[in-house]
């Protein structure tokens, strides 16, 4: 059917390009902000996802590895292995600590040192972009963002807790927004933290992850029977706890920005539709005069709004994918995750935007006086 709305829009190509461009950039803004939000979740919990641990055994009261501190005596791994369903147990020694960067010696930066068993590799880096994956004593594998930010390369030295470490590898996806993970041997970690009799967590592999919760309860009972107060969290519970921390920290910052993007989009579509309506006022009066009802007029405005919104959304989607692949080159800290949920949320925002933006022009059309068609 002849679409008066689309004909009107495409008749004014310059205005259409500006409107679609405005919506496209709003779409990109919303999508990138939501993408950064999801990216933070994904990147911050990547360590837990990638590490071969179905259960995390920590001191009673633990919530996450960043804000709550867990200290447990060594030797409990033998007890944990006795619990039915347990396949293997690994030690986790790690916490945030200030590091001196050798090239700029007076500069310090916080990193999260993880000491892992270099024989099994469990708890260590999972993707290396440069150098080697398993460090020896006196060696460290640092994150790519940390390396880039501090201009560190293989062979450079950093000092952590009085221990000098040579960088032998650079890992990927080991940045958790405020600091990055750095991987050393268990022995070096003990030296750095000065706690040879203690560790922070036991990482437990179970025979069948389906029964992980049951095994967790049994591990807790066994250790508490020995007088050791622990909490045992499944991998998913531990991941959820970390996500909760991120959510509490960043929602307050990112959500207002998403709202600003939404507001800009509504304004752009609204102004475009309103000026297009004003410009065509006489023509709308003609339509009313020859018999177009309110529903017909409303349909024209809504169709114009949706056409602008959809074209803008498609252009914005393409821009977002381009930006998402380009952002890490200039800001490696940011990982932009564009997934179906992100796209769906942005699409829903754009639909709501066009509805909101169409309201004022629709009201304006309702007030058009068709009798003006007889005026010169």
């Amino acid at each position: 059917m002849v679409s008066i709305a689309r004909k009107n829009l495409f008749h004014e190509k310059g205005r259409l390009v500006i409107s679609v461009g405005g919506v496209a950039f709003s779409t990109m803004l919303i999508m990138i902000l939501i993408g950064v939000y999801y990216g933070i979740f994904t990147e911050s919990t990547m360590y837990l996802v990638k590490t071969r641990a179905d259960l995390w055994v920590g001191q009673e009261g633990i919530h996450d590895t960043w804000h709550t501190y867990s200290l447990l005596p060594r030797g409990l791994d033998k007890e944990i292995r006795q619990v039915g369903g347990v396949k293997d147990v690994h030690e986790f020694i790690g916490r945030a600590i200030r590091a001196k960067v050798s090239k700029v010696y007076d500069k310090e930066e916080t990193i999260y040192i993880i000491g892992f068993d270099t024989k099994t590799g469990v708890g260590g880096p999972w993707e290396i972009v440069k150098g080697k994956r398993i460090p020896r004593d006196g060696q460290v594998i640092v994150d790519r963002v940390f390396a880039t930010r501090n201009n560190i390369d293989i062979g450079d030295k950093i000092e952590v807790g009085g221990v000098e470490l040579t960088v032998v590898g650079v890992s990927k996806d080991t940045f958790v927004l405020v600091y990055s993970y750095a991987f050393v041997t268990k022995e070096d970690a003990e030296k750095i933290f000065g706690a040879e009799d203690f560790l922070n967590y036991y990482m437990v592999e179970v025979e069948n992850p389906f029964f992980a919760k049951k095994v967790a309860d049994n591990v807790k009972s066994r250790l508490e029977g020995l007088g050791v107060k622990v909490d045992v969290l499944t991998k998913q519970e531990f991941i959820d706890n970390h996500k909760e921390v991120i959510d509490e920290s960043f929602s307050a910052i990112l959500l207002p920005l998403v709202f600003i993007g939404f507001f800009i989009g509504v304004t752009v579509i609204g102004l475009t539709l309103y000026t297009a309506t004003l410009e065509k006022m006489k023509e709308y009066a003609i339509l009313k005069a020859i018999g177009a009802g309110e529903a017909f007029m409303t349909r024209i405005v809504l169709e114009q709004a949706f056409t602008i919104a959809m074209l803008g959304f498609i252009a914005g989607l393409i821009l977002s994918f381009l930006a998402a692949s380009w952002v890490p080159n200039i800001a490696p800290e940011f990982y932009v995750e564009i997934n179906m949920q992100n796209i769906t949320m942005t699409f829903a925002s754009i639909v709501v935007m066009s509805l909101v933006a169409a309201l004022i022009p629709i009201r304006r059309l309702e007030r058009i006086e068709p009798a003006t068609v007889f005026q010169a």
Binding site: V2, F10, I286, G291, P370
Partner: protein, 233 residues
Amino acid sequence: MSEERKRLLEVMDVTKIYGSGRTAVKAVDSVSFTIGRGELVLLMGPSGSGKTTLLTLISGLLKPTSGNIKIDGIEITDLTQKELAKLRLEKIGFIFQHFNLLTALTALENVMVPLVIKGVREGEARKKAAELLTNFGLEDRMHHKPEDLSGGEQQRVAVARAVITDPDIIIADEPTANLDSEKGREVMELIHAMVKRGKAAIIASHDPRVEGFADRILRMEDGRLKDDVHGGA
């Protein structure tokens, strides 16, 4: 055909006052007349005599202050805006001095507009509009936009748009004012031909060329109907 049906348009003691109190202006003052099928009526009078206001009232685009207007037996002063819109779509065809075509649409699409509003299927609407434009001698111009058409062509497109829904009454406001004498005559011939097929037309005009097509001439002055005489048709 009943007497009432023969009287396609009935204007009964219609008055329109703009404003109120001291600033009140009586644009139309107690006007009464009827128009039957097959009649082309010319509404003449100087500027400000109330011609355009009267057309606006007959179209149902304004409500009279008092009096009654019936179109094909339907009292339009009692209708809601929605009912009036439907009545205009089905029973009235409009032709304006400045053509009033939609600038973003082609000639063909402009003619299709009333059918689009009515919800007629596109294929049918397109076929009907193309036939009409061909009959009006615009078969080579139907895919052009108004800006690419001459004044005469635009007005013929406007006439086609006015008659595509087969309305009972054509209401025209100075349809020849912006046309040269030949194009003006062509447009009047089109309107005249429609009227002779059982429709009615009321045309407000200063143009003496139109008089030759009129069955009756109504002369207005200061909002009042001064004369109702037979025309030159």
